[in-house]
Amino acid sequence: MEKMISIWFFIGLLLVAYGVIILGAGIYDYLNPIKNTVVLAELHAGIWWGALILALGLYWAITEAPKKD
């Protein structure tokens, strides 16, 4: 009987992708601050929030990865 992959693994993969996108965009905005149009853009939320998402995603993607029997 096929063993079901944990939902946390799928969540981890998606968050890794999101983390890379948001962190990347945050770094780009940091280097090109003219484009920022949101309130409190100087906090650079994309950088720290993207890093948090990436770390969370990596944790689940690695610890919940399907294991070969």
Binding site: E2, M4, I5, I7, W8, F10, I11, L14, L15, A17, Y18, I21, I22, G24, A25, G26, Y28, D29, K35, N36, T37, V38, V39, L40, A41, L43, A45, G46, W49, G50, I53, L56
Partner: protein, 571 residues
């Protein structure tokens, strides 16, 4: 990606913000993920038990998160943020006293009866307890309510897409609802639950930035309180209880009795303990202790949801430069409405990528709520309407097939109801109306059925029927004669929300009184037939064989203590 961008942009008319390629990538990845999970789980959905109850193999954490996520539909995010803007922190009552005690009661007191009876649904429990009559009434009313609620989710999502992105409402409704239909069709409750856990994580990651950055902009809680008082010209928007001593002294026009007995008892216990949409998630647990713990885990997370829903509404009240208005005024003047406060706050703080994640959080909330409604509808339709009333004997495969196609049918009917919602001033008023019609009397029937062995089948069906009819009757009465409000809600000043609370309370009282009176004049079931269904006739397994930290009752106590502390802090 360029084609996808063009596709989305083609649907745009006007917009609050413009998504970049990164934002659209984030949203597109989400759609790929939920559909992909549906396809992956289809291979594990081979029987009716798999499709309708996820094989009863879920852990407490999965069930608990799914339990909250299924409730995190549009009414949670858009509706309550709008209510927080409209009524202030009073809206938090629907998360705390209006949810937590009931969720804990479900887990600790009621779950043993639901779980041990091995029922597929709440109407299924009523069939075991009272007979076919009660099941038919509750199943049909639940099916109607669920489809209407599903319409709310669709409309809310489409509204967000219209306000934030300028997408056409029809485009949004069809794209999201067909996605939900696809993954629930493929994997049933299993797919719905797994996606709800994913959606739960995305909702928090996407929405949590608003309160974090918002509180920085406001300069802390005390400054926010002062800003709100200045903007609205009164100081009672930020207190939970202080202004509830009279109907006139608070923004909602409600008395504390309405909050405690209407919201805290009837509506809350009715929704969290008898609405099959949420109860179905807990019934999928692998054992009774997991089912009980899932309710406690759900309650703990529910208690934190105001951070991403109520607080953004309050921040909007304190920080947004323009005043938001009701839907009708917004349509006439071109101003933004209460229902748009959450997307407005999102657009205020979120840059490229983050905006896509925030929009994904909103879409995820809508889709989890919609999937919850659709999967519950499919179960109740198949097991409680189709099987007993239309085709009594058929193979498990046949009922599985009916459930799958019912998923698509439910989505299509829901799309029709989405357009009905547009005429309501506040989304939450519409929701509370539905609750007062169907959920409040159902709670009266279920709670008497579980705790009072003298309740008879005739009492159950008459109480439920007359309770529901009385609620609809009171609503029609006030529509025909607005002065009736002083009788139903004790005050001509009562707003829609307060009226809904009191109507729910009356409907519950009617249900209970009719059930008790009819039960005393009709013959009860023998006690032997009530085993596993009623308190006093059922031996409930004890948790004493596990350590303190693994006992659901211990954690329920911890959650209650935190709840009391929160009410004191924001008194």
């Amino acid at each position: 990606m360029i084609e996808l961008t063009s596709f989305f942009q083609a649907a745009e008319t006007s917009r609050l913000v413009q998504l970049g390629v990164l934002d659209i990538t984030v949203i597109a990845l989400y759609f790929v993920a939920v559909i992909g999970i549906g396809f992956y789980l289809k291979r594990f959905t081979k029987t009716g038990e798999d499709f309708f109850l996820a094989g009863r193999e879920m852990t407490a954490w999965i069930c608990g998160l799914s339990f909250v996520a299924a409730n995190l539909g549009s009414l949670e995010m858009m509706g309550w943020a709008a209510s927080a803007y409209q009524y202030g922190i009073l809206a938090a009552h629907w998360y705390w006293i209006g949810a937590i005690p009931a969720m804990l009661f479900l887990g600790i007191v009621m779950m043993p009866f639901y779980y041990m009876s091995k029922t597929h649904s709440v109407p299924g429990y009523l069939k075991l307890r009272f007979g076919e009559g009660s099941r038919a009434v509750s199943a049909i009313s639940f099916a109607v309510m669920t489809i209407l609620m599903s319409g709310i989710n669709m409309y809310s999502m489409a509204l967000v897409m219209k306000v934030v992105l300028g997408w056409d409402i029809n485009f949004s409704i069809w794209s999201a609802s067909l996605t939900v239909a696809a993954y629930v069709f493929l994997g049933g409750l299993l797919s719905a639950i797994f996606n709800e856990v994913l959606q739960f994580v995305l909702i928090w990651l996407g929405a949590a930035l608003i309160p974090i950055i918002g509180m920085i902009e406001a300069g802390g809680w005390n400054n926010l309180v002062n800003r709100v008082a200045t903007n609205v010209g009164r100081s009672d928007y930020m207190n939970l209880w202080q202004s509830l001593g009279s109907f006139q002294d608070n923004p909602m026009g409600i008395h504390w009795t309405g909050i405690v007995f209407g919201t805290g008892v009837v509506i809350s216990f009715g929704y969290w303990t008898t609405d099959f949409l949420v109860v179905q998630r807990v019934l999928a647990a692998k054992d009774l202790r997991s089912a009980k713990m899932a309710s406690v885990i759900g309650a703990a997370f529910k208690m934190m949801v105001p951070l991403i829903v109520i607080l953004p509404g309050l921040l909007g009240l304190g920080l947004l430069p323009d005043k938001l208005v009701g839907e009708a005024e917004a349509a006439a003047t071109g101003a933004h409405s209460y229902n748009e406060v959450l997307p407005l706050m999102l657009a205020r703080y979120c840059g490229p990528g983050l905006l896509g994640l925030g929009i994904t959080a909103l879409i995820a909330g809508f889709m989890s709520g919609m999937a919850g409604n659709i999967s519950a509808f499919a179960t109740v339709w198949t097991y409680d309407i189709y099987r007993p009333l239309i085709r009594k004997t058929a193979s498990d495969g046949h009922y599985l097939s009916v459930g799958r196609w019912c998923t698509l049918l439910g989505v299509l009917v829901s799309i029709g109801t989405a357009y009905l919602v547009m005429q309501f001033e506040s989304i939450m008023d519409y929701v509370q109306q539905l609750f007062s019609f169907f959920i409040a009397p159902l709670f009266g029937t279920v709670i008497l059925g579980m705790l009072w062995k003298r309740a008879t089948p005739a009492g159950g069906v008459w109480g439920l029927s007359l309770g529901t009819l009385s609620s609809i009757g009171m609503w029609l009465w006030v529509k025909a004669d607005p002065s009736a409000l002083r009788i139903i809600a004790f005050s001509p000043d009562a707003k829609d929300m307060a009226e809904n609370m009191y109507r729910a309370l009356w409907a519950w009282i009617v249900c209970v009184l009719v059930t008790v009176v009819v039960s005393y004049i009709t013959k009860p079931k023998p006690e032997a037939e009530l085993q596993g269904l009623v308190y006093g006739c059922t031996e409930i397994p004890s948790d004493s064989d596990v350590g303190l930290l693994r006992r659901p009752a211990f954690w329920a106590g911890v959650v209650m203590v935190v709840l009391i502390a929160l009410n004191i802090i924001f008194w």
